[in-house]
Subunit: 417 residues, 4 copies
């Protein structure tokens, strides 16, 4: 039955996360992160770890909280609200939750004990490193390789535009990587790839200087090279030559988190902007009484509620999928979704979420005039920060549209084929 | 708990409506209506009445089906799909269901027996007539009056842009009207209004020629004058001087129906257009492989799903509201919404629904090129028909935005005060 | 030197056309055309012919007025103003001027005497018939052929979505056609095509029933088949196997005319709508005082002025091109534009002109509410009529974008190659 | 006659400015400014001064170059191209040219000798300081006052969000201010204001710390307080109590410059982005072949050309206005524009220029993906920099729309009255 009521437990979790953020992520703290840049402050991550909400869906028996994706989305929304640059929510929590959960699902006990369990507490960093200089969304551009040699793999290649390289170096941890373990098949370049968990301190890994960018300051973006890096087979994640599918699963999970956090950003923009436009008078009347402004506010609100429902449905679909696979307890009558059904929804929310968040901040800046452009308000950092997720992090805008169109029309209509 | 699964009963109802429409509302039938103009074909209405879905929410004890608004929305979606001009869905079913239900809630047994019961079967027409030459959304412009004279009321005034005047004349029936029963209070012009059910054949009612318009052909739009029309107090609907509130309730119900039918329109546009763009080759490749076209298709799909969720939530809120009032059986834990909470959501969907439907048809016309402009396809009539609900029927675009902004910001920020 | 002043002569021409339209194309006349459908009233065309403005650029020595394209654009704007469905301006005058001029440039004296000269007076019709069931913008889809046989050509094939078939049949006249005179070269399908002037009454031509469409009523759209039509070589237009280039020239000229007429449509929408929104009060204030409405009006105005400048520049570029070719007298220092430079500009205005006109009418309908949807105002027919030029006539929206992108980026980036 | 050819002299000026910029404003220099922040590098300003293009329209007899506004616009375009943050073009050159010219027109010889002449050479700074904490566009909010006391004026008040406070302090110079010299008239708050030129080092002026902002780094934004500042009457600019009109003239001039520089920004975005999208392959084909990208490029190009024509016309109108006033030599037949005609056009270009520039950069960032977000390319600083002119500098977006609507509809439809 269609129902739009959070459970009592969801309300409780949300409340406790809100309380924690209220104390630990006030505006000044977030602005300080923005000013100071990376590495992201570890104590915040430890705090979130303490709440059990980093990689919340990791099963209780693996040290996680075993919460469903819908609840985790409600949490991500709160984090996005308190840090509307979404450095915390997306750059950090989405990455760690989406990818950490997926690592945990497929990894060996060794990796779980050494990396996932500490990361659950905010002690180590778990990230994703797929993009290479010759390809991000286009898997065919991936050139990094892993060659088997006895029980070991020898890995060579380069990864770029990776979130959290500096954090990973400082705190310890590693990255999900996806590399070629067989020849490239031109008509199916996603095959013959295998995923590994790469500890950042493995011999042969060299981390580069982080990029300077438009405003994703609190979380570093960087790259690293891998030169004859030796990893035992225990570091393999998932099946040999099937790395693509598990990687897609990781993206799905991370993308839900990012989109959920964008709901929080938009709510924050409204919560910070509406009192001002109601108060501030121009030409003898509050800004809020000018239709050009109030209609924009109404539109932002409407779009936020649409996004919220779409994220909730996406997370619910992902929960159903995991229920089908026996990873989550069934909550209602069976509804079956294929991974591509779910991917279509997730691409829809990743497509619109960051754009709407960026746009809401853009409009609020205009309402505030010159003041909106300054660092006295939250808007300019929300505008700059969310742009990072519009352009590309966890898959750029146009890639999401291609996925939606592919699922709507069929694979044979992919535009580049 | 958030849940997005239709119930088994909803699935059954939807299926039976679909089957009926498949047989009774094929494309040729709808195009014929478009060509022939009003009155709307009575046998279709009788058919829908036979299914028990006109004014479905009217309680069983009053002869209705007692179905909830969410289910009724799913039905409206199907009707919009089969007649994407939404003449059937909006001009007819939304009007009859939204207003018929509300009449039934507040009317005397006389009115119920003489008008609602036959209308439930598609034998008579029940509509809404609020707009006057000097005011539609602006209640202050209403000049029609009812004066009490013993047990009777004497009504004078004029109503314009009324859906279904010709149908009402031919089939019998009447209109919800809202007229002044006391002096206009400049700062609260919505007070001192009372609602009545006006039989179209009452002495003193003169119906005018229907308007010629851009394409709302299958349902007539017209006006009528009321000259010393005498109605007994049994024709009063709701309390004296409190007509405004019940009228708003009627609008809420009708607007949900219209917005729900727009989902069906968009689905129809996609279902009719996608096979064509996949088939039709230009410059050696199917139209569907051109990103400009496939991304528009993806966007239409995404917007349709957003609209669908928002309509479902709006209808669910309306159900909760009626559950609170004891008119529907409670289905889950209590969630309380005020009428204005619900109105905000309903205005959001009325705002975006017709625009999105109109826009989807507009885009499909462009994909089809010159052929899309002809009467060989459904798009041009969907484009023309839905525009009627963008411009005004059941409240125009800007009025919906004003309602959303008012609920978001507070009454003191209404732009015209 | 940059200058934006019309010449005295241009002012005079504009004034005389305005005066004529004021008398001969009042609203009621245009609405009557809309109601009655095709054929387009011949007396209007004769009147325009009498003014010397149909095919105005045809040289004086050929019986034309020898006016430049910029002046002809100013005229088209006036025609679009008085008949904002653009049936007269685009469906008729743009077609006749753009194609008639181009026929005249390349045709034999026989064709000139028999068809162009009468058409200049509005006595016969000259149109364009390139589209075929298997291709409009995509030349590769053209299947019609002309085979040489002594001094004759034997033509077979079918043409669809042709403006003016019924007018042509009734008044006499013919169409520019472009047919294969050699094998199709897959990598250059535009080669081996030759243009002819096809008299509609030639033996073997069979004209089909006009299409029913969304509102291009005053000018017919139809198709015809050609079965062993014999034409003497005098009916060839331009060089053998080089028909593509002359056809492109014809499109350029017709597209300038259409875009120019759209300026007039927008001006008309504003002139008809602004007094109403200033007068009509809602909630105690004129509609014009609501920012949502006045900002839309301001945006329409701004877009109209942008379009006007772009059309003027396009026409000026076309004039420069013809000056270079010695067909027009040089007016200022040499500025050289290649045909593709000019085509890029013309595609820009054809891209935005009809869309802006359609959108202006759409917005005005919303301002007027339910009244805007009726046939009492000009907006609904402007909305329906201009849509015909958005979807396809003289090249659809997306084709124009492809042309602009091709000229901006280079031929090697055409999306379908 | 309509003509779109630059004069030979304009071509020469443009070429010399381009050459200078090529040598003195390479990308690295501009990026360094962005990194280092204010004060803006004086040597650049001196260089521009050396070319005679700061305040170019100042008459030769006052030490300026006496060039017209259309040529000055072509120059501003070049500057915007080389520094697409528009710190140089708008923050600096538009401010100095627009306001410096207007000061020069109305000031005493003392001010001219001490401030304008050095500023013409880039030795001193001349800016504008109208905004106050309680009002920017809304003149009624201005509280600063000047009281006459013999031949002196005593000035008190505060100015905020002023471009160039730090530059002014370092280099010497001052600001156009507009203060109350009589009681506020509620229904005409723009009356009783007088303009002065305020030397930044006048006793009683206290300059505040510059704001931290989103990315207008190379030019400072700050505020200052004025406490019993004494200025002789020689520092008055224009007539007593008539300061508003001269201030509007200054805004007109500065706004043309800003809008012109935005053309350059867009051209730069295209010039930097197009080679990359043609080169960079994704999924086996260059980005430029994807319609979603190439159509956006085509749209940016089209909008740039529309903006260019509108700026050229605005500048030409301003030239005509100054020709009428005898300040510029007449160049063609008389065309008369009122100041409000010109203001309408200028507000149109100020409205769309910065938004289009910001949006072009936003789109290019998306094409470049993660790389587009870094400081390796020009886009992110163009995006951040131009936003400053969207939100407010020289009049925010909505103010421009209000001006256009006011001129289109009439003063009585100003939305706040």
């Amino acid at each position: 039955m269609f129902d739009f009521t959070p459970t009592e437990q969801q309300k409780l979790v949300v409340k406790s996360v809100k309380d924690w953020c209220e104390r630990n992520l006030p505006y000044e703290r977030v602005r300080k992160m923005d000013d100071k840049g990376h590495p992201y402050p570890k104590e915040i991550v430890q705090g979130l770890g303490g709440l059990g909400i980093i990689m919340g869906p990791v099963p209780v028996e693996h040290g996680g909280s075993g919460i469903d994706w819908q609840t985790q989305s409600l949490i991500a929304e709160i984090i996005g609200y308190y840090d509307p640059t979404i450095a915390t929510a997306a750059g950090l929590m989405a990455v760690e939750t989406g990818w950490g959960y997926t690592v945990d699902r497929y990894c060996s006990n060794t990796v779980r004990e050494k990396y996932i369990k500490p990361a659950l507490k905010g002690e180590k960093f778990v990230g994703i490193a797929t993009t290479e200089p010759t390809g991000g969304s286009d898997v065919a551009g991936f050139k990094s390789t892993a060659k088997r040699s006895g029980d070991e793999w020898i890995i060579n290649g380069e990864k770029t535009f990776i979130s959290g390289t500096e954090e990973c170096e400082k705190w310890g941890g590693g990255f999900w990587i996806n590399v070629r373990t067989g020849p490239i098949i031109p008509e199916a370049p996603h095959r013959n790839m295998t995923s590994f968990f790469l500890p950042i301190d493995a011999d042969g890994v060299e981390v580069q200087e982080p990029y300077k960018d438009a405003g994703r300051m609190a979380i570093s973006t960087g790259g690293f090279t891998m030169k004859d890096v030796k990893l035992s087979d225990e570091y393999r994640v998932g099946e040999v030559d099937k790395g693509f599918y598990a990687t897609m699963e990781g993206f799905d999970n991370a993308r839900i988190m990012i989109s959920a956090s964008c709901i929080g950003v938009i709510q924050r923009v409204l919560d910070d902007a509406l009192p001002y436009i109601k108060e501030r008078k121009v030409f003898g009347r509050p800004l809020a009484k000018f239709e050009a402004i109030q209609f924009e506010a109404a539109e932002i609100y409407m779009q936020m509620e649409a996004l919220r429902l779409m994220v909730q449905k996406s997370a619910w679909m992902q929960d159903k999928r995991y229920q089908e696979e026996g990873l989550l307890k069934k909550t209602s009558e069976a509804t079956t979704f294929t991974p591509t059904d779910v991917a279509k929804w997730i691409s829809m929310v990743k497509w619109i979420g960051p754009s709407l968040a960026c746009d809401a901040a853009y409009k609020a800046m205009i309402w505030f005039g010159a003041a909106g452009y300054t660092k006295e308000y939250v808007f300019e950092m929300a505008w700059r920060g969310n742009m990072s997720y519009v352009v590309g992090a966890e898959g750029g805008l146009n890639i999401q549209k291609i996925v939606v169109a592919r699922e709507l029309l069929g694979k044979e209509y992919i535009p580049y084929k």
